[in-house]
């Protein structure tokens, strides 16, 4: 036993060094971007820092004066963020950015641990984490002052503790993540299905509850889920997560009243931005904004999203991370509003999904380039509309549809090349 441990330590030492180098260089790169951003803000008229960061800082200033953060226009986040960023006022305005960079690195650390939990080889796991650590997109987003890395940490921590089997911790973190951003609420179904069926995922057991053969086993799964009493894990998760969320909401409602509910939750649920964005529905919603069809069309736009989320949950709940990745990708692609910040929501789960998606690196690079091409084809007419005043609405609409098609194509490729590691799943169950 001791010999094996020593051998493990000797084998482990190189990968720890490698991980150290990886994380160290990622931190240095982000700090360098931070310094450059401070320089650009001071000298040039076009700022490096995102507008959102100024919104956070102003809200933190109001909070430090004992007032409501919602006095700041366009602050549509939880007051918790204003509270956390109070050192922006007391210490340095760069505190928030440093926090978000730390969040980035923590997210990568969680990814590493989840991959190790799944039995992956340590050096390989480092390689997958490099996709996030050395990726310019999360680097730029965090150094510009967006808070996406905090939500990524919460979501990844939830996944980590579910993998480990610690239901209470995962439920608390899940409650926090839904409070910070609404989109993790869609993970409730996959998580419930995963926890419900955790102990009985043998093929034989599911066949026993197989519904009629003429229908798709989608119905079978539905029946299966609702016919059995809920697992204690599911109940515990639901209770603790629900309690955390309600406790947070009630305490902030006590402090800030209706404003808090309106800006933190309702705005995001009813948001209908008619200004141009990546969503395929943008032009349709803009043209029908004041017509009587507006509500019906909004509902019609919601249906494909809902159906896909349901089907994906039922199909892939066994691999929670993959399921959540597909969930978020579908949610973002079919949403009525889509901005580039949303891409990070599923990008943080991609390093965990990549080991199970067996495709050649050429195909992977091609898909990535196709995805960037879709964005570029949208950005060109959008630039001409916003900065040159040309009427490119039709082109933007077509580019939006094309981007949706490209997103779905990439998803289909990922789904078709997904192979769940059988050995890996068995190892997790025996722990």
């Amino acid at each position: 036993m001791a010999a094996r441990r020593a051998e493990g330590q000797r084998a482990g030492a190189p990968w720890r060094r490698r991980a150290g180098w990886l994380f160290g260089s990622a931190a240095l790169l982000r700090l360098a971007l931070l310094c450059y951003g401070a320089y650009q803000d001071r000298t040039m008229l076009v700022k490096y820092t995102d507008v959102d960061y100024h919104v956070f800082t102003d809200a933190a200033r109001f909070v430090s004066q004992g007032r409501s953060p919602y006095l700041r226009a366009t602050y549509r986040y939880t007051p918790l963020l204003g509270w956390i960023l109070a050192p922006n006022i007391y210490l340095t305005p760069l505190f928030g950015k440093l926090l978000f960079i730390a969040g980035d690195l923590t997210a990568a650390g969680l990814m590493l641990h989840i991959l190790l939990l799944r039995g992956m080889d340590a050096s390989k796991a480092c390689g997958y984490c490099a996709f996030w650590l050395l990726n310019p997109l999360p680097m730029a987003v965090s150094s510009r002052g967006n808070a996406e890395s905090l939500v990524a940490v919460l979501v990844l921590a939830t996944m980590y503790y579910i993998e480990k089997g610690n239901i209470v911790k995962s439920a608390i973190l899940y409650g926090f993540s839904v409070h910070m951003k609404i989109y993790p609420v869609t993970y409730a179904l996959p998580i419930a299905l995963h926890l419900q069926n955790d102990g009985c995922c043998e093929k034989g057991a599911t066949d026993a509850f197989h519904f009629k053969k003429s229908k798709c086993s989608l119905m079978g799964h539905f029946w299966q889920f609702f016919s059995r009493p809920l697992n204690s894990n599911v109940l515990l998760f639901g209770a603790v997560g629900g309690f955390t969320f309600v406790a947070l909401s009630l305490s902030f409602y006590y402090f800030y009243g209706w404003e808090f509910l309106e800006h933190t939750y309702l705005y995001h649920l009813t948001r209908r931005d008619i200004r141009h964005n990546f969503s395929p529905y943008f032009y349709m919603l803009y043209l029908t904004a004041e017509s009587e069809w507006s509500f019906a069309l909004g509902l019609a736009a919601f249906l494909p999203q809902l159906l896909l989320l349901l089907v994906v949950s039922l199909a892939y709940y066994k691999d929670l991370v993959f399921c959540c990745f597909l969930h978020t990708a579908v949610f973002v692609s079919f949403n009525k509003v889509c901005t580039s910040q949303y891409f990070l929501w599923y990008l943080c789960l991609l390093p965990l999904v990549m080991p199970n998606v067996k495709m050649s690196w050429q195909r992977g690079v091609l898909l990535l380039l196709l995805w960037f091409l879709g964005q570029a084809l949208w950005l060109v007419p959008a630039y001409f509309l916003e900065f040159k005043g040309n009427n490119t609405f039709l082109l933007i609409w077509l580019a939006g549809l094309l981007f949706l098609f490209i997103n779905c194509f990439v998803l289909v490729q990922i789904i078709s090349h997904y192979q769940k590691g059988e050995k890996v799943s068995k190892k997790v169950k025996h722990q």
Binding site: C216, M284, A300, F334, L385, F387, K388, N391, F393, C408
Partner: protein, 318 residues
């Protein structure tokens, strides 16, 4: 005087034969001269051209009074005319010295994010304008807005000093849900000419309603009000029409100063901004196309899940 008999000579003219009276000779001669000049009164026959002067006689006081009565209106008219001439001359000279206010506005850049450049020239003059501050009050229509946080940032860089005359502004709402906005912009001296000022204000367009015909909506920017505040007296200010208004002295100083809102004749017409908008006739095509594409794409993903999903799920094909 009835005693002075009037006889009509040939042609209906008056012939006045002077009766020998004391002290009327020169007056008679004077009358003859004056008689040629004008008429004695309405309805009276014209004096005779060839008036024979009788022996010099002295006119009596009554006649003198009559002549004075006839003279007075003439004097009055003459005085009035001279006064009018003087006044006109004076006002002409005054207009010649009252400088013109020239205001030009132009929109720089293109698209949804523009910069409004306003130049004010307070005309040529001798006195220095150094002690005066000039500000403009812009009235932006509902289709345009300014970003207060952008203004705060520009103020820090000392590029633009502007004060919004509204508490809050919704930067995200479309044009039909927004209201007009008034902004006070404090101008800086323009190095190009002596009594020139300029100000730059970044403005943004809102989204307008989709249009039926062409793909453009119009936002009209009215001419601004010009406000001047002088510490010392500024003579040119006196010849312009102005009304007193109260406004903040500067962006940093919260005190209120008494500004003069001067009226001026706008040189160029109102500035018109064209904002691209969607076309209503695309509505049916866009709705159909969008819904079709989203249904198609969701079917693609559904088919992939059914086909490649985990084995326990794949019973669709059976």
């Amino acid at each position: 005087m009835a005693a002075a008999a009037e006889a009509r000579g040939p042609g209906g003219c008056r012939e006045r034969r002077e009766e020998p009276r004391a002290g009327g000779g020169q007056a008679g001669a004077g009358r003859a001269r004056r008689g040629r000049g004008g008429s004695a009164g309405p309805g009276s026959p014209p004096p005779c051209a060839g008036w024979r002067l009788g022996p010099p006689v002295r006119l009596d006081l009554e006649m003198q009074r009559q002549w004075m009565e006839r003279l007075f209106p003439w004097q009055g008219i003459l005085t009035f005319r001279v006064a009018l001439l003087v006044c006109t001359a004076r006002s002409l000279s005054a207009q010649a010295t009252c400088p013109d206010i020239i205001v030009t506005q132009q929109l720089l850049k293109e698209g949804f994010h523009r910069e409004l450049l306003t130049r004010v020239e307070l005309g040529a003059g001798e006195e220095a304008i150094g002690s005066c501050t000039v500000a403009i009050k812009e009235h932006l229509p509902a289709g345009l807005y300014v970003d207060p946080y952008e203004l705060a940032s520009l103020q820090q860089h000392n590029l633009t000093e502007a004060l919004m005359i509204a508490d809050t502004i919704d930067v995200e709402s479309p044009e039909y849900l927004a209201t007009d906005l008034a902004i006070l912009v404090y101008m800086k001296p323009d190095p190009q000419c002596d009594r020139c000022f300029k100000a730059m204000l970044p403005v943004h367009s809102r989204y307008h309603r989709p249009s039926k015909d062409d793909g453009e909506a119009i936002a009209v920017l009215k001419n601004p009000e010009i406000l001047i505040y002088c510490h010392k007296s500024f003579p040119s200010l006196e010849c312009w029409n102005y009304s007193e208004v109260e406004a903040p002295c500067s962006v940093r100083n919260g005190h209120t100063c008494h500004w003069s809102n001067v009226t001026y004749k706008p040189v160029n017409k109102e500035v018109i901004l064209l904002v691209p908008v969607g076309l209503k006739q695309h509505g049916a095509l866009v709705c159909a196309g969008t819904l079709l594409t989203t249904v198609l794409c969701s079917c693609l993903v559904l088919a992939a899940v059914c086909k490649h999903g985990p084995s326990s799920f794949v019973h669709c094909s059976e």
